[in-house]
Subunit: 98 residues, 5 copies
Amino acid sequence: MFVAKVVGSVWATRKHPDLKGGKLLLVKPVEPVSGEYAGATALALDGGVGAGVGDTVLVLDEGGSARKVIKNDNAPVRTLICGVLDSVHSGGKDKKYA
Amino acid sequence: MFVAKVVGSVWATRKHPDLKGGKLLLVKPVEPVSGEYAGATALALDGGVGAGVGDTVLVLDEGGSARKVIKNDNAPVRTLICGVLDSVHSGGKDKKYA
Amino acid sequence: MFVAKVVGSVWATRKHPDLKGGKLLLVKPVEPVSGEYAGATALALDGGVGAGVGDTVLVLDEGGSARKVIKNDNAPVRTLICGVLDSVHSGGKDKKYA
Amino acid sequence: MFVAKVVGSVWATRKHPDLKGGKLLLVKPVEPVSGEYAGATALALDGGVGAGVGDTVLVLDEGGSARKVIKNDNAPVRTLICGVLDSVHSGGKDKKYA
Amino acid sequence: MFVAKVVGSVWATRKHPDLKGGKLLLVKPVEPVSGEYAGATALALDGGVGAGVGDTVLVLDEGGSARKVIKNDNAPVRTLICGVLDSVHSGGKDKKYA
């Protein structure tokens, strides 16, 4: 599980039928304490938390959980947004993200 | 899940019987916003979306989903193309891929 | 499985219901013999060992185990703190962490 | 799934009983288009395709598939050779591997 | 699956009950042909092969297998030592590890 920022969305007409209902977002990992980007952009499905571009989010990268959250045992998903970050507490300081 | 470009295909006479029907493609990860390559080339099976060389695609790297999509619980697969990217929306701009 | 230091905690109001009871901590991998940081910060759930900021911990990054430890087959979790490190024995020396 | 070259074999007298029948090979990832090495050497089991040192192979790195291919649900395996590469087609050219 | 050297052990009083019986070792990946270190130190459980500090070992990093080998479907384990390396054969030469 990691922290990432939603940096965009993708559009794909031809895709697996079980992906048709979901919103596919681009998430770029961030170091949660500094807020700096720290890794390659991934594709994630919103797991029902209403995340949008600009939000810093909690990302889960595991297929078993992802399919249970979207309640579809056959969907080809692995990366899921399962929370929207409000703030990080570290070293006696708070960093606000929302 | 990540975005990648289909850069080629492979030919293998000797392979596991459950791989015989599928098309094995080479996919190279790209940073979706810039379109630049960003990682090592992987082998992926087309999950029924009709992807070809030159397409930018959505790739899923998880065995459980992959076997369900190709409807074969015993096939040795993990990496699957599950969509063809049309465009990316980020920072108020659209980047077209198809 | 790897060794990491708990460097902070996160606050998220909007999150998947199955994450509501757990404590979400930030864990930064360390080289256990030298104690130096060695990788990107991840998000982990405390698997019942009472870990806190400043502790050096044992981290498991696998969804199947994580869901069993927290006794919730549907929770979106993958990264779990499953122990608190006291010391490392290597090269004839002991390095104390607690 | 990735492309790799078989660079050697290993010998281990003390090992898990379910690994006793299999051939343990060393596989080094290659960039399939250029043929250059591109990553750390892994240990793989031959999944019945008769791969040998010098072959360029298709490697699957996923436990669920691996155990099904070797027909042993309890074997500690994850990395499996599931094909021998003949050639790669990319950019209008063929690169022969066998 | 990869080759690693056992470089130490860890002590943790507070840990998940299902980890209490096992020996937790520190394993550092090595390039098997050269014997050089090649990656970050991981935590592994001995899967019944009697590995000790100084041994070069075969490591499996997959939860499903790991839980079957230690015969505990609920244990939080992923990384398992499943063999002790005697030698590597590569490029017409033998490198002895034991």
